[in-house]
Every structure is written in structure tokens, then in C-alpha cells.
């Protein structure tokens, strides 16, 4: 098998990503996102497992008010399915498809697994407060000059820098 190809120039990639976002705004009137799809997935699962619960708990009631219908028939869910396909195609053409658990050689797989799980949980939790994540709040918010989006962006990256020192052993 050939070696993985090198990554695209970041400025070119950024420009293409910006165009993707711009076209999305022009066509749909909304930006890109990711954590919203996670939220829809959670609602769909809870709805299936404990339907009575979703009818009484406030979070789900507010979700249904905002998104009537099947939670999986949602714009962001379709977009995320697209992301999986797009990333897979990219991995395929650039020889990067490989099942691996990637981590720094200095830490054990166990540590990386715990880190990924905790980090993911924090991100998912924080994205609810932020009303979106790096894509939905920060990037898409920046494109439309949203004050909240930019504040969230500064908080995400500022927070990450503030905590980076304490978790350096995970990465360096």
C-alpha cells in the first residue's frame, strides 16, 4: 500500500471550507454544524428507549417545540451523514483509511481511551451551553458576525490554552 498523501495547504483548505460555508448560508440561510446532530441522536435514542420520559422532561419538550417531527429527519443529521461520506472519500483518495487507536507513544491506549471519552463528554456537554460547537457556534457564528458565536469561539480556544499545560503529558 502507498504511503498516505500529504495534507492540503491549510490556506487553500480554509478557503474551500469558507466557500462551502458561504454556499450553505446562501442556499439554506443557516451555517454548518456538528453537535446539533449529536443532540438529535441522543433525543432519538432516549425517545426509543423511554418514550414516556421524553414527553415529560423539559429538555425534550423544548427540543420538540423547536424541532417538530422525527429527530433524525433533521438538517444537521443529514449534513453529518455527508461528513462521514466526504471524509471517507478523502481518506480513500489520500490513502489514509486505517483502523487505529491513535495516541502519543508515551501514554497507554487505556489513557487515550479515557481521555477521548471524558473529552467527548465535556465537549458534548459544553456545546449545549454554547448552543453549538466549533462548527455551529464558532465558525458559522463568525461568518454572520454573531456576537454569541464569537464569544463562544474565544472561550473555546482561550479555555483550551488555559488548560493545555495541565494535560501536556497526554500529547507531548
Amino acid at each position: 500500500m502507498n504511503n498516505p498523501e500529504k495534507y492540503m495547504n491549510p490556506y487553500l483548505a480554509g478557503f474551500l471550507l469558507g466557500l462551502t460555508l458561504l454556499v450553505t448560508i446562501y442556499i439554506t440561510g443557516r451555517g454548518l454544524g456538528a453537535s446539533g446532530a449529536v443532540k438529535s441522536a441522543v433525543v432519538a435514542v432516549v425517545q426509543t428507549v423511554a418514550p414516556a420520559h421524553t414527553e415529560s422532561a423539559k429538555f425534550y419538550k423544548e427540543y420538540y417545540d423547536e424541532h417538530p417531527g422525527n429527530p433524525l429527519k433533521n438538517w444537521l443529521v443529514f449534513e453529518i451523514i455527508g461528513v462521514v461520506i466526504g471524509a471517507f472519500i478523502s481518506g480513500l483518495v489520500s490513502n489514509r483509511l486505517k483502523l487505529t487507536l491513535e495516541h502519543s507513544p508515551k501514554i497507554k491506549s487505556r489513557t487515550r481511551i479515557a481521555g477521548a471519552l471524558i473529552g467527548g463528554a465535556l465537549f458534548g456537554f459544553g456545546a449545549q451551553f454554547g448552543r453549538g460547537c466549533t462548527s455551529g457556534a464558532a465558525l458559522s457564528g463568525m461568518a454572520v458576525f454573531s456576537t454569541g458565536g464569537l464569544i463562544t469561539m474565544i472561550a473555546i480556544f482561550g479555555g483550551a490554552y488555559a488548560f493545555a499545560y495541565f494535560f501536556r503529558k497526554l500529547w507531548l
Binding site: 490556506y11 440561510g29 449529536v38 487505529t100 477521548a116 473529552g119 465537549f123 456537554f125
Partner: protein
């Protein structure tokens, strides 16, 4: 005029659009190297600033694109989702996400992208994020206070900071370009060598200049709205502008004739409109002509769009704006509603008609004087149950 959803592209087709947008999004993220946590966290340890480069370039590109589309009237900004601002929730959420970023090495979008090419750590991150959302959902009553505190609405940053949109776009672009140079220096120091990707000074000087030109162009594209609103404040410009006129008699005749091709745009204040609204009329603020909804109404074919206000000059300001925005078949009511009141509603015959023409006119006006008030009353009753606020597209963020 964008956005194309829901008028041109229906809500079902929009889901197909979402799929294709996602494919482009995922492809670019993966090509940029966002499918490995090693590259993502490099940002926080100074050895790889790819994330900053891609993120800021994308943000600035889309932002300037939005400014340009708005400027050329291709996109109705009032129809776009501006992420709402809940101050404390945004800050706390952002910091928690930042912590999640350095511990987990991904963000939700990049984790999906990495999982798609087989990264097991990314799959675990996704499982974690499902748990995180679940915790929030189940503990919602506890978090709701913070979640909904300090609601600033859908504010935009240049308003918050009190500067123009163009100035903010320029400053942000300048900051981004400055950051690109700065981080390249930091990166070279941390890694002990320059990444060959960024060695070509010429290319990057060129790109810097290009970014400068594009950022400056934000100033040449002042909000089109401001520009046009400015031009209709120019008295000479408005007075000399050629606009079709419709006389009080013709308007009265068309109203009595129930002319289906008549649309009246009433520019007076809501209070005045409520006390006397002509049949076929609806109230508009001059600002409304920039909206997609109003634009649609103004572009119906073969309609006569009559602008009314108390005085003719105000009508003309509205008409000039509409014509500058490219709408056709615009008329102003000659003499304004003041004239219409005098000629029709409160018509007093000045004396015996002196000729045939005056006879006809007087007869018509006397008839209109009794008929139109009845039509006005009927119209008011018909309108009453209608809500005055227009339905807004409901859009909810990420």
C-alpha cells in the same frame, strides 16, 4: 435572492442539500488534516497551527462573502440565522468545550471526520459526546437558569462593539493575516525548523497583499442598505427622479372598480394606518423594501404598485428606493393622501361645473366620496382578525 430555502428549494430537498454540503465539509476537513488529534492539539502546544490557519481563513472567507452577497442584494440578511447570544452560557460552554478539546483531542465535527477514516479514539470521543449531551438533557432543570441567562438576542458583533460592519471585517482579516505570520514564526521555533510548506516567502507576501485588498474592499462595499438609505435623503436626487404618478381620481376609480392588479403600499406610521387604511393596502416601513417577502410582493407581474403617504415627497422617497432596488410598475399618489382626502374623501364641490369635464369629475367624486368610506370600513373588518406580524422562518442552531 438568497437564501433559496424555503422558496426555491423546499424543505425536503433541503435535506439533500445538507447531505452534499456535509460531503464537501467532511472532505475538506479530512484533506486539511483534521482527522488526527495530533494535528488538532498542535494548536495548543505550538507545534502545529494548521487549525488556526484553516479556521481563520474559512471564517474570513465566508464572512467577506456574506458581506459581498449582501452588498449586491443577492442575500437577505434578515432571513439568515444569526446565532443568538446568551452571554454566560456562551462563555461557560466555551470554556468547558476548551477543556474537552485538550483532553479529548477532537471537537464534534472533526471527531466524525476522523471516525470515518477509522480512528478508534474518535469513535470513543463521539460516544463520550453522546453521554455529555445526555447528562445535560437529564440535568436540564439544573442548568436551565444559566442556559437562558443574559439573553442579548440575535446581536451582531459590530453592533455590540459599536463599529461599522466593514471596519470589523477589515480588523478581523488584518488580525488573521497577522496571526498567520506570527504562528509560522512560533511553529518554526517550537519545532526547531521551518515547515517547507511555508518557506515560499514570495507566495505568502502575495497572499498577504491579496488578503489586504479583499479586506479593504469591505469598505468599498458599505452596506448597500446604508448607501441607498443615504441617497433617498438627498432632496435633489429624489425630486429629480422620474416616477410615475397616479391621480387621486384614478386611484379612487381603481379602488371602486376592485382592480385586482392594484397593490397599495402605505408608508405612514402604524397608528395612522390603523385609523384609515385604503382597500388593497398594507403598511410598510421603508426598511421593508430590503426584505425578501416585500420584494416578492413588489415583483408580481403586471401589478400597479402605488405608494401612499400623507405627502407626495415621502411617497417619492419610497418609490425611488424601490426603483433603485430594481422593482417596476411603481406609482406615487399625486398630492399624497392629503390630496386624496381633499379631492375624494372630503370632497366639496367648489361651485357649478363650468364645462363637461368638470361635470364628470364632480359627479365621480361625489359618488366616490360615499362609496370609498364604505369600502374602507369593509376592508378594515376583513383585515381585523389577521395578525400584523409576519411569520418568520424558524431556524434553530447547532
Amino acid at each position: 435572492m438568497g437564501p433559496l430555502v424555503p422558496d426555491v428549494i423546499g424543505n425536503q430537498l433541503n435535506l439533500v442539500v445538507a447531505l452534499f454540503v456535509g460531503i464537501a465539509f467532511g472532505f475538506v476537513l479530512e484533506q486539511a488534516g483534521f482527522s488526527t488529534s495530533k494535528k488538532l492539539v498542535g494548536l495548543f502546544y505550538g507545534y502545529d497551527f494548521t487549525v488556526l490557519r484553516v479556521f481563520m481563513t474559512a471564517g474570513v472567507t465566508a464572512m467577506i462573502g456574506v458581506v459581498a452577497l449582501d452588498h449586491f442584494g443577492l442575500l437577505d440578511i434578515s432571513q439568515i440565522l444569526i446565532n443568538p447570544t446568551f452571554l454566560w452560557s456562551a462563555i461557560v460552554g466555551g470554556i468547558i468545550m476548551g477543556l474537552g478539546f485538550v483532553i479529548g483531542g477532537f471537537c464534534p465535527g472533526t471527531s466524525v471526520c476522523a471516525a470515518a477514516i477509522g480512528k478508534i479514539d474518535a469513535m470513543i470521543f463521539i460516544a463520550g459526546s453522546l453521554l455529555g449531551v445526555l447528562v445535560f438533557a437529564e440535568g436540564y432543570p439544573m442548568f436551565e437558569g444559566l442556559y437562558k441567562a443574559a439573553n442579548w438576542g440575535n446581536v451582531q458583533i459590530f453592533n455590540t462593539l459599536g463599529m461599522s460592519q466593514s471596519l470589523f471585517a477589515f480588523l478581523l482579516t488584518a488580525m488573521a493575516v497577522g496571526a498567520f505570520w506570527g504562528v509560522t514564526v512560533i511553529e518554526a521555533k517550537v519545532n526547531g525548523k521551518m515547515d517547507p510548506e511555508y518557506k515560499s516567502k514570495k507566495l505568502y507576501y502575495g497572499l498577504t497583499i491579496l488578503a489586504g485588498v479583499i479586506a479593504l474592499s469591505a469598505f468599498v462595499m458599505p452596506d448597500r442598505k446604508d448607501e441607498l438609505m443615504g441617497s433617498i435623503q438627498d432632496k435633489g436626487f429624489v425630486t429629480n427622479y422620474n416616477v410615475n404618478e397616479m391621480t387621486s381620481d384614478e386611484l379612487a376609480f381603481r379602488i371602486m372598480d376592485s382592480d385586482q392588479k392594484l397593490q397599495i403600499f402605505d408608508l405612514r406610521a402604524q397608528k395612522e394606518f390603523d385609523s384609515l387604511a385604503l382597500p388593497f393596502s398594507a403598511r410598510y416601513d421603508i426598511q421593508n423594501f430590503f426584505d425578501k417577502e416585500t420584494g416578492k410582493k413588489l415583483s408580481y407581474r403586471n401589478m400597479k404598485n402605488v405608494f401612499v403617504a400623507n405627502d407626495e415627497y415621502t411617497e417619492k422617497q419610497g418609490a425611488v428606493l424601490a426603483k433603485e432596488l430594481g422593482f417596476h410598475d411603481i406609482y406615487v399618489l399625486k398630492g399624497g393622501l392629503n390630496g386624496f382626502r381633499k379631492d375624494i374623501l372630503n370632497f366639496e364641490q367648489p361651485g357649478e361645473p363650468k364645462n363637461r369635464r368638470e361635470t364628470d369629475t364632480y359627479r365621480f367624486r361625489n359618488e366616490a366620496k360615499t362609496t370609498i368610506p364604505v369600502l374602507i370600513k369593509e376592508y378594515k373588518q376583513k383585515q381585523a382578525p389577521k395578525e400584523s406580524s409576519k411569520p418568520k422562518r424558524k431556524l434553530v442552531g447547532c
